[in-house]
């Protein structure tokens, strides 16, 4: 069985701060990491491999990104991927969701033409759009199931436990399919052993440039994108209200009641 895991390298989004005066990002001290949801997808692939010891399961990690995204792929190799491929080229710059999904599709078709499963993280923590998986699935012509928190495979079927607004669903589909993962199978993030670290560097990690993929130039990068960012700015800050010291809980509680009374937010009549 061939499982493709598409991954993205992202900055640690919650450490990125915004200078509210200039509306610009402060990048100092922010590391680039494997997108956490992509890591969950990889963990799921490794779990599927572990669940099926009598099948030869191969896990291939693929990413579209700049050269430094290699380290995110290396992380995948350390955590159990067998091979990794980076689709990287200046021509890909400026790609929006559409161009990215097209590029990834070509990459997958070229590298793993007879894949069985594509696993993706539910969203990237920088862009947060969560759109590439669906557009990729459409371009590959395969069914999609999103927000998976558990994946089990049988001979011809895939069963996914999916998180919904108010509970869960078990959804079934056939191979090949694309599944996005919102929560991994492990409660704790795994750590590679020193042995994994060594072995990862002996596994194949190849870079594919644009000429190795069959895409017309005008479909790549900015030219191939249908959406354009025209502005980036800091979110509006709400004005802070009244903050009091809670050292005297009696007084503090009193003031809170007064506040709510004035704003008519709680009822004082017994119902």
């Amino acid at each position: 069985m061939k499982i493709v895991v598409t991954i993205k390298q992202v900055p640690e989004a919650d450490k990125v701060a915004v200078n509210s005066e200039t509306g610009t990002l402060i990048r100092e001290g922010v590391e680039s990491i494997l997108n956490p949801f992509c890591e969950y997808a990889l963990d799921m692939a490794v779990k599927i491999k572990g669940d099926n010891p009598d099948i030869n399961v191969e896990i291939i990690a693929i990413s579209m990104g700049p050269p430094q995204a290699k380290m995110a792929l290396m992380r995948c190799l350390e955590l159990g991927a067998d091979k990794a491929f980076l689709l990287s080229d200046r021509a890909f710059a400026g790609s929006d969701v559409w161009a990215t999904s097209l590029t990834l599709k070509e990459g997958i078709r070229k590298i793993v033409p007879n894949f069985d499963l594509v696993l993706c993280g539910k969203q990237a923590i920088d862009g947060d759009t969560a759109q590439v998986p669906a557009e990729l699935a459409e371009n590959l012509g395969i069914p999609q199931i999103f927000y998976g928190i558990d994946v089990n495979v049988e001979k011809k079927k895939i069963r996914v436990k999916k998180e919904t607004d108010n509970g869960f669903q078990i959804i079934e589909t056939r191979f090949p399919a694309l599944i996005t993962i919102s929560k991994g199978p492990n409660n704790i993030r795994r750590l590679p052993s020193m042995k994994n670290i060594i072995e990862a560097r002996k596994k194949p990690l190849e870079v594919f440039t644009a000429d190795k993929l069959d895409i017309e130039e005008e479909k790549l990068g900015l030219n191939g994108s249908y959406t354009q960012v025209i502005n980036i700015f800091a979110p509006p800050t709400k004005e802070a209200g009244r903050i009091i010291d809670g050292g005297d809980p009696d007084k503090a509680a009193e003031q809170m009641i007064e506040f709510l009374r004035k704003k008519k937010l709680i009822k004082f009549e017994v119902e």
């Binding site: 701060a17 509306g23 610009t24 990002l25 990048r27 700049p66 050269p67 710059a93 400026g94 969701v97 559409w98 999904s101 969203q123 920088d126 759009t129 969560a130 759109q131 669906a134 557009e135 459409e138 069914p143 999609q144 999103f146 927000y147 998180e163 607004d165 108010n166 869960f168 078990i170 959804i171 079934e172 589909t173 249908y226 959406t227 354009q228 960012v229 025209i230 502005n231 980036i232 700015f233 979110p235 709400k238 802070a240 209200g241 009244r242 903050i243 009091i244 010291d245 809670g246 809980p249 503090a252 509680a253 009193e254 809170m256 009641i257 709510l260 704003k263 937010l265 709680i266 017994v270």
Partner: protein
């Protein structure tokens, strides 16, 4: 492509500092900016440069192409109510409100698309009352429950026939599944999770959304393709004022859907035993974070919620610990809520949480840390111990209530 005007460039390095990707640097040799491979053309440096030294060349759309498309369409997503009957989701009305606003400039027709099983469609007149001019209705057995394949086929068929200029979806679980699939099928631009929409001078839809976990906002346009599609955060836009006298046109349409073309099957569905009232519908939320200390202490939060006629919601931290469940999670990877009153207990207020609740009308926060970011958005905050203040609050509230009896 990103172009640098070396004459204008003074080597001031502001572009280096603001680039989220480390993709532009000032060459120490000639002190001019140079763009690197990692550039994604996001435009942050263009905004920051004070010397007009950086530009991004973009293609312009042709007017004839764009003019063939007109009208705002909204996916009328349905859901089951308490009695298992289908009803129209709230977000549809929120989007109608927004569409009406945009229409002040655009002056096009507003339509809602409803897909569902024959005989079980909820009353649709209410959509006219909230601003729809047309309702496109497709009744088909295979559209009884949501499926990517069935719904993509139906809506795509309609879009190709009717050529709307704009198509909105709620960024719900299904909306986020459906919209990008359609976008890929008809090869059009899509922006997800938007919190604001505007029309620019060229009548383009400007779609604004949070990124980097809510740390920045990005404004986006889809200049060359139609329809301009966007998914919108539920509970973010205002439901418009109802006009019960308003009328509209019902337009039924048909699609061919083969049974085998629907490739996913729901085997089982579970609704977790949470309050039947959803947090996004409650007017009062008592939200709890790490500061609660233990799972057992949640009892006091529940007590407070009951006493003020609200329901409990939670930050991500407690959901990850397994003390609360995902349906009541507020935040970037949970739900967006905008209740009348949001009380945050022991929540520090990380940006990913704030993004999910900061448009609440009134926010009250209690936390022992005076530097907690939640205080930046609170209308009323107490730096103190929830275990001392809440019991006292309940005591006072109850005694006040007893007074009103006499």
């Amino acid at each position: 492509m990103l172009e640098i005007n070396e004459e204008n460039c003074t080597g001031c390095k502001i572009c280096e500092k603001v680039c989220p990707f480390g993709a532009i640097i000032v060459d120490p040799k000639d002190k001019k900016a140079k763009v690197l491979d990692a550039c994604t053309l996001c435009g942050a440096c263009v905004n920051a440069c004070r010397f007009d030294a950086i530009t991004i060349k973009r293609k312009k759309a042709t007017k004839e192409e764009l003019e063939k498309f007109s009208g705002i369409m909204i996916w009328g997503e349905l859901e089951k109510d308490k009695n298992e009957n289908l009803q129209i989701k709230n977000v549809v009305f929120e989007l109608l409100g927004k569409a009406q606003e945009l229409n002040k400039t655009l002056k096009e027709t507003i339509s809602v698309v409803i897909l569902g099983p024959p005989g079980k469609i909820p009353p649709i007149d209410v959509l006219y009352h909230y601003g729809a001019d047309n309702v496109y209705l497709c009744e088909h057995e295979l559209l009884e429950t949501y499926s990517t394949d069935g719904f993509t086929t139906a809506i795509t068929t309609l879009i190709i026939r009717e050529k709307p200029s704009i198509f909105f979806y709620g960024a719900t679980v299904n909306g986020r599944d459906l919209a990008p699939r359609i976008a890929a099928r008809i090869a059009t631009g899509l922006t997800a999770d938007c919190t604001a929409f505007d029309i620019d001078e060229e009548k383009q839809l400007v779609q604004t959304r949070p990124a980097f976990g809510g740390n920045i906002m990005a404004s986006i346009i889809s200049p060359f393709t139609r329809p301009q599609m966007a998914t919108a955060r539920p509970n973010n836009f205002q439901k418009p004022i109802k006009d019960p006298t308003r009328k509209g046109n019902l337009k039924k349409f048909e699609v061919t859907i083969e049974k085998q073309s629907i490739r996913t099957k729901i085997i089982e569905e579970t609704i977790t035993k949470v309050d039947k009232i959803k947090i996004e519908e409650s007017e009062i939320l008592v939200s709890v974070g790490r500061g609660i200390g233990t799972k057992e202490n949640l009892e006091i939060v529940q007590e407070l919620a009951r006493e003020i006629r609200g329901i409990m919601s939670s930050s991500r931290a407690l959901v990850e610990l397994g003390w609360t469940s995902h349906p009541i999670q507020v935040g970037q990877s949970g739900k967006t809520v905008s209740p009348k009153l949001y009380i945050a207990l022991g929540i520090s207020g990380k940006i990913q949480h704030l993004v999910g609740m900061k448009s609440s009308d009134i926010i009250i926060a209690i936390n022992t840390d005076p530097e907690a970011p939640i205080f930046n958005v609170a209308d009323f905050g107490i730096v103190g111990d929830i275990f001392e203040i809440i019991p006292q609050f309940l005591k006072l509230l109850r005694s006040e209530r007893r007074k009103t009896i006499t």
